[in-house]
Symmetry: D2
Subunit: 278 residues, 4 copies
Amino acid sequence: MNQYRVLIDANDEKGLVHKVSSIFYNYSLNILSNSEFVDKESNKFFMRSVVEGAVNKQELTDAINAVLPTNASVKVIEPKKKNIVIMVTKELHALGDILIRHEAGELEANILAVVSNYDHLESLVQKFDIPYVSISHEGLERTEHETKIIECIEAFEDVDYIVLAKYMRILTPRFVEAFEDKIINIHHSFLPAFIGANPYKQAYDRGVKIIGATAHFVNNNLDEGPIIAQEVIHVNHAYGWRDMQRSGKDVEKVVLSRALKLALEDRIFVYANRTVIF
Amino acid sequence: MNQYRVLIDANDEKGLVHKVSSIFYNYSLNILSNSEFVDKESNKFFMRSVVEGAVNKQELTDAINAVLPTNASVKVIEPKKKNIVIMVTKELHALGDILIRHEAGELEANILAVVSNYDHLESLVQKFDIPYVSISHEGLERTEHETKIIECIEAFEDVDYIVLAKYMRILTPRFVEAFEDKIINIHHSFLPAFIGANPYKQAYDRGVKIIGATAHFVNNNLDEGPIIAQEVIHVNHAYGWRDMQRSGKDVEKVVLSRALKLALEDRIFVYANRTVIF
Amino acid sequence: MNQYRVLIDANDEKGLVHKVSSIFYNYSLNILSNSEFVDKESNKFFMRSVVEGAVNKQELTDAINAVLPTNASVKVIEPKKKNIVIMVTKELHALGDILIRHEAGELEANILAVVSNYDHLESLVQKFDIPYVSISHEGLERTEHETKIIECIEAFEDVDYIVLAKYMRILTPRFVEAFEDKIINIHHSFLPAFIGANPYKQAYDRGVKIIGATAHFVNNNLDEGPIIAQEVIHVNHAYGWRDMQRSGKDVEKVVLSRALKLALEDRIFVYANRTVIF
Amino acid sequence: MNQYRVLIDANDEKGLVHKVSSIFYNYSLNILSNSEFVDKESNKFFMRSVVEGAVNKQELTDAINAVLPTNASVKVIEPKKKNIVIMVTKELHALGDILIRHEAGELEANILAVVSNYDHLESLVQKFDIPYVSISHEGLERTEHETKIIECIEAFEDVDYIVLAKYMRILTPRFVEAFEDKIINIHHSFLPAFIGANPYKQAYDRGVKIIGATAHFVNNNLDEGPIIAQEVIHVNHAYGWRDMQRSGKDVEKVVLSRALKLALEDRIFVYANRTVIF
């Protein structure tokens, strides 16, 4: 008995659910869960099923592909731990939350390494017997620095996701292209408000009554990638921007961990700079 | 072209999605939305589809029934305004919210009448050209009073739902049986906390930091019917119980209206004293 | 026995609480509630006390003024209904919520009139015996239209607040100056995200997972005035922009009514484009 | 220059703010923040001020005491790290969150030890160079076991708080009395709903749409002590009780850490089985 996550992404047409569910039925697969969504505007069909039964992965993939329209995408995924690299700068809270969840067995992930441009968090990471790679940016051109990080990450085999757990440097297009659709970032505002540097200071200056955080995939435009998860908290006049920053940390870590879990469980589809999440 | 909401409730077995979606496909129906859920504990399968096409309602019902296990339930419903009767005592906020939504065209409902044991809200209801029936309980035995209300409601044809928008009298089993699965109540606490009278006073006495409201179907046990929707707000030490009551009104009206909309849109399944909501 | 709300706004210096509370004590006033805040960045002191006792309003004002630094502001306000004018375009929900709260006696306000550039909401408003003034903008220059509205509003005596309950036209600086610090608007996004037209469409296009609403005072820059209240709700991929718009209405009406109550109860200080709210 | 937190708890009478603020003024103390609350029902006055200046702690305490009614309580506290002992059973998440916050310097606390009736969490705690004391309950009477734990805790000097971070055994009155007003517990439901064992199972059985967690001081009645903080999350029909348990962990850890911070910052007054929190 194998368990598979089946992710389908196709142009919508009549009968897709029928055709796919027929295949599940013919292979005597048990459907553990099933979610569908049609985006009427773009005429796109999305489906995520978790199925169980005695079938070969490639055979199932081929069978589904055969009934789908051209240009459809099918992924049949065996649940197993994914490989992640975490990047940080100096702040501990988001990394710490991931380390604790990892320790508790909550995450379907192997943490291959934590990479930073500082060594501030080295002692924490080493407690958990996870490699810490400090690659200082000092004295280096941005591209030189990134080259070193890319080389470091590429030295690992099969990196599924790179998690920016408050990595405070802007990535160049070259870096982003090297790991397309694999980089998850936490931005400390409810995007698209307060793009860029020091969003809490911006939020304070604007006098908002709500602050938030946004986890998103990174594409070439700063803070403009597809949003995975967002959360907010209420603030009031007594919050200076450093109070917002302090309180915001609790939201940041929750949102990043939530987004990471969604990614690890293969629950996210990306299209048209947005996400469908089952 | 007709549009139908198809609601299926069956013991789970392999192939149900396949069989039902085959019927949709064979009748050339377009699936506008589709939701499924299997409750593993009770082995129950629930499905709600919205489909569109040229098929007769009875024919579609029969076709689906033919492929389902025995004891399954199929409802094929044409979207149209449902008939509701609202019952109130003296408080205005929950009724007012429904009247305004009705006026705005937000509700798929005809309000046949507002029934009350007082005449406090008569002038409000009459502004909206809705019949107001005042049936005082004074000087009457409980059963006499209820008999009058039941007669009043049964005089209307086809009452789909009775909405208790802060009707502050306890209903007898006889009343509840007369309108089984049709009575929606708003209770002013997050059930099962603070069952019974004056939940805000109870909440204040317990020193809670959160208060809430619960919309539920009414069965014979007070405040113990299947929960449809719940919502909460934060309070603090400065809230006396009357402040909680005042603030709680905003939650009550939101939760009741949300539950009512779910019912009117045929999104609720009830089983085992719980609800599945698509 | 009189009850007063005392609002003080001064440059901070040592002893302000002491000096003001001494006056309350000397006049044998009972303090029903007391809130203070010092904004360290701007060195501003804010205080709101509700006091009760046998003292003349002017005498109390003068006594407090005498102990405060120069440039301080003191307001001693008797709780009573404030006069408001509501402006709307075509949407019913925000206006409806205010009308129902007014009917329920929840608002310390007289609604002098509802002014609109359309007559869509006339029949609703008239149910509540409130004057409805329809001033069409068709065929008029913007300034001509505004002149008519200003004349209409100024014909009422003592208008305390103008509530824009989804008034969908941009106000000119001239209008805003005519009613400085008196105009409360509801914007249908969590500002500063999605300034301007159709924020739900903007939110949909950005693929956000949270939408919201913001009540704020209006100043000359569109959607940039001091924020009074904000609230959000979660959305997901299944929400088209019209679904967001529909769901957003519930947030809009809640936030606007909350802001209005804060204003009516004299709980808001405005400074540096932000609000202090007690 | 010293900084003090001044906490006053007295029967209310006219002039208390005046009298206390006079003392601050006479000692030339700078008020950094100031909060007051009068509970009208019990006629109790609460005040928390943070002041700064050149005054001796005892002198300030005596001066304030001299102007307060009899039976009043004054605490003048220097901000410094408090000593805490954490008690756990097997679950990692709540403890982990505290350890990470401690590591990040977010908590005004020294963690003296983690005490458990199992050794499951020993390796985690030792990573942080914090003593882990495993005191198995196996083969021991409840009172014997508790005696060992009490001895262990009392061997430390000056324990300010005992934090039950999912310690899953019921404490006897003797234990509670030994550490009166010092024990903070996290209960995995929004109390008073679902007192006792396996609240998530209870919540599932009741079919709730909201689950939550409650941090409270422990008194002799199980789950009935004064509530410090509560938080909830929405669930739906797809949540089995183990899903609720899994999702609930995120709420539990947030609520417990929030309550702990409030305690460490001397922001909590307890009276009449409730809390006033500034």
